[in-house]
Amino acid sequence: MLENFSFRTIIEYLPLFGQGLITTVWLSALSFAGALAVGVVLAAMNLQRSQLFRVPAKAYIDAVRATPLLAQLYFLYFGLPRLGFVLPELVVGILALSLNSGAYIAEIIRAGILSIPRGQVEAGVASGMTYVLRMRLVILPQVFKVTIPPLLGQAIVLVKDSALLSLISVSELTRAGQLLASDRFMPAEGFLTIAAFYLLLYYCLKGLAGLSSRWLGLQPARSST
């Protein structure tokens, strides 16, 4: 049983956990920004009429969605040095998370743009708006509105996925738990503490998702993480 559960050890390791938490937060934020960029580019390619853009974007999205993140992570981790890129583990991790989440975000953005009724575009054309004006004043504000909740859902997934970076020894939150577990043979203290920290992040993002859908006047989101 857990009768010798040691809160003292947890407090002793608290600075380590704090550092891990901070690392997890900023590396997730950075990866999310990267994923947004990747997602926007892929979605734009996917919405072109020319097969030249659509086929590679679709192939990339399918390849990412049909393979596990861990395999993708190892692909970059063991593969990049072979191509002559010797990068720190942290950079490889952020790259892997961005490239992975980007494929999912591309689908979210695409669905958002396709959800705008055709009539809206036609009305824009009829009012003599240029493409840029239509995009800026008609399409994008509406896309923005419907994509925020699923994007926050993807952010939750990304934060959880970032735990896998511990397997290529990035010193984030899960790594801190592993250190405590292996240094002191205290897996319960290590892993329960980091689980609590992840839950904290989860509830923050979930609360934000709820707030955002209320601000945007949408149905309270049944978050589909």
Binding site: A71, Y74, F75, F78, G177, Y202, R222
Partner: protein, 224 residues
């Protein structure tokens, strides 16, 4: 150079097959168990008992709010402290089943909630028992909402099974990791690992998309 590596890779195909077998077995067992458990939980979640419903809701939130890797570590390293000795395989199955059940529970609950109350009332008025109502009226209609995300969930499950390699199970990802120590070509090795997963997952993704389109059409017909 690349020939030698290919030859060396070809030599490790029994290992790769074993890894693929392990991935498929893990996924299949936890898929069956997780679906059964998930449907049970989903029905209980919408069953009207506040206490049961909120306990299930809280558990689902705990599982959704923590990384799967952490859940595996918790099950593998902490259950033994409660006197339950687990092999890595059993721990993997428990973790994957639990994860699948939690997500499927929410999918099923959403499906059941989507069935109009009038349907349930009509069934009540026809004197159907609770079980008959569920089986003959609610679930068949809920399935239209449930099926596409359910198949999508299976894809996620197969992909998540790669994480159990962290507790030393020799699944497809672990095989890649082992082979790359001998054949130092990460691009090639993990490309092949990816192909392995792709072969299993892609048909399911296609199926989910088709179901989504078909169920959407069916829904449209009803609304007309």
């Amino acid at each position: 150079m690349i020939w030698q590596q290919l030859q060396s890779l070809a030599g490790s195909y029994p290992l790769a097959l074993r890894g693929l077998g392990m991935t498929v077995m893990l996924s299949l067992i936890s898929l069956v168990l997780g679906t059964a458990l998930g449907f049970g939980l989903g029905i209980l979640r919408t069953g009207g008992n506040r206490l049961i419903s909120s306990v299930i809701g809280a558990w689902v939130d705990l599982i959704r709010g923590t990384p799967f890797l952490v859940q595996i570590f918790l099950i593998f390293f902490i259950l033994p402290e409660f006197g339950i000795e687990l092999g890595a395989f059993t721990a993997g199955i428990i973790a994957l089943t639990n994860l699948a059940a939690c997500f499927i529970c929410e999918i099923v609950a959403a499906g059941i909630r989507s069935v109009p109350t009038g349907q349930v009332e009509a069934a009540l008025a026809s004197g159907l028992s609770r079980w008959q109502r569920m089986r003959q009226v609610v679930l068949p209609q809920a399935m239209r909402i449930v099926l596409p995300p359910l198949v999508g969930q299976y894809v996620l499950l197969i992909k998540d099974s790669s994480v159990v390699s962290a507790i030393g199970l020799t699944d497809l990802t672990r095989v890649g990791w082992l082979v790359v120590q001998r054949v130092p070509n990460g691009l090639l090795v993990f490309f092949l690992v990816g192909v392995g997963y792709f072969i299993v997952c892609y048909p399911l993704i296609m199926l989910a998309r088709r179901l989504e389109r078909r169920m959407g059409q069916a829904h449209g017909e009803v609304q007309l």
